[in-house]
Point group: C2
Chain length 214, copies 2
Amino acid sequence: MDASEKTIERLCLYRRLLVKGAFSGAKNVFSHDISKELGISAAQVRRDLMTIGFAGSSKTGYDVDGLVAKIGAVLDTPGGEPFVLFGVGDLGRAILHFFSAHQPKLRITAAFDIDPEKANRVLHGCRCHLPEALEETLRATGVRLAIVAVPAEAAQAVADRLVAAGIRGIVNFTPVVLRVPPEIMVETVDIAVAMEKIVCMTRLREPIQEEVAS
Amino acid sequence: MDASEKTIERLCLYRRLLVKGAFSGAKNVFSHDISKELGISAAQVRRDLMTIGFAGSSKTGYDVDGLVAKIGAVLDTPGGEPFVLFGVGDLGRAILHFFSAHQPKLRITAAFDIDPEKANRVLHGCRCHLPEALEETLRATGVRLAIVAVPAEAAQAVADRLVAAGIRGIVNFTPVVLRVPPEIMVETVDIAVAMEKIVCMTRLREPIQEEVAS
DNA sequence: GCGTGTGAAATGCTTCACAGCG
DNA sequence: CGCTGTGAAGCATTTCACACGC
């Protein structure tokens, strides 16, 4: 009935794979097909689909369209979920670009930046405002999710303001641990940690060169 | 002796917190101080520090400088680890900017992009080259880690090329499952999944509005 | 006291392995 | 047969809870 966070992440991957047409038009897939494409075990795939209550058949595997629909029913808000973006620097623009290119169900309906240069510009199809327009915009549109892509120093203040304005979930691209009330969801994408992690993991795989410069 | 991936991530957070001076010059911290700042349980903090073999004292807690040094010994390559960046779009520039601003131990020494407009430009202190310079640059500098921030369509080809040129670890900002030999480490930062996840998680926390439009 | 260090319990997640079915 | 669905086993990670030391 309830999927774990890990399962939710994998469901995103399954859907992306199926929608992308990796199996080029095939009506059905087997768990081991998905497994091979994503590097996730077939048993894991089967269990994930089991937990969302999607049944396959032993003869033909899983129906692709049905599975996409079922994953959508679990992951998506019916009608799609709009975001606002706070911070239109390089990263904010990258996110805007990314959204406008790929995402059907996810939309960024408004962006905000303290730089007056950017206010009322339209980037990748998204209008940019000054922060003072935030509350009014949220009231008018009822957007519940926000993306924070401002410099670290400003992150907590922006989060506070978003929460006060009624936001329910935040994707945080800042290396700051945001303090928000417990009912507000925060998902942090921490670029610096990803880098440091790969440094460490790569090093651990190569126990070779611990030589001493004598 | 060996820290799990989760532990490595948390060690990054501990160090960042300590270096940031969150405890403003204090010589020592207690596990519950760190706990409170990061929202990680104190028992978890103590166990992480135990697994890297860093001991505190019950009177004064953990020595800040010593702990920073110890975490550095676990995470860092002595002398610091350089990266190359592939793809200098908005996202690549955001990463460059981020590095040049914050990171001491991590450096991006060269960037690559197929756009000749960008070749030989210098962005945020980093010189940009055409892809054909990749192999030569890697040979000359011995860089072992790469960041992939190209459009999804190009990701696998870039990864293949990086691996062929001797790269050992990749931070992948692309929504593509990169196929690389098992000894190459890949850490994927998946922005789209983060978004979809927050949509889903926010929805699950609010079982209110499943109303039917009749 | 307080807080660390740490076995032991608890929880969560993944894989195994096999029954059952077309 | 080959594949799904799924208890049960196996790991991994986190938390509990308490001995020990300042």
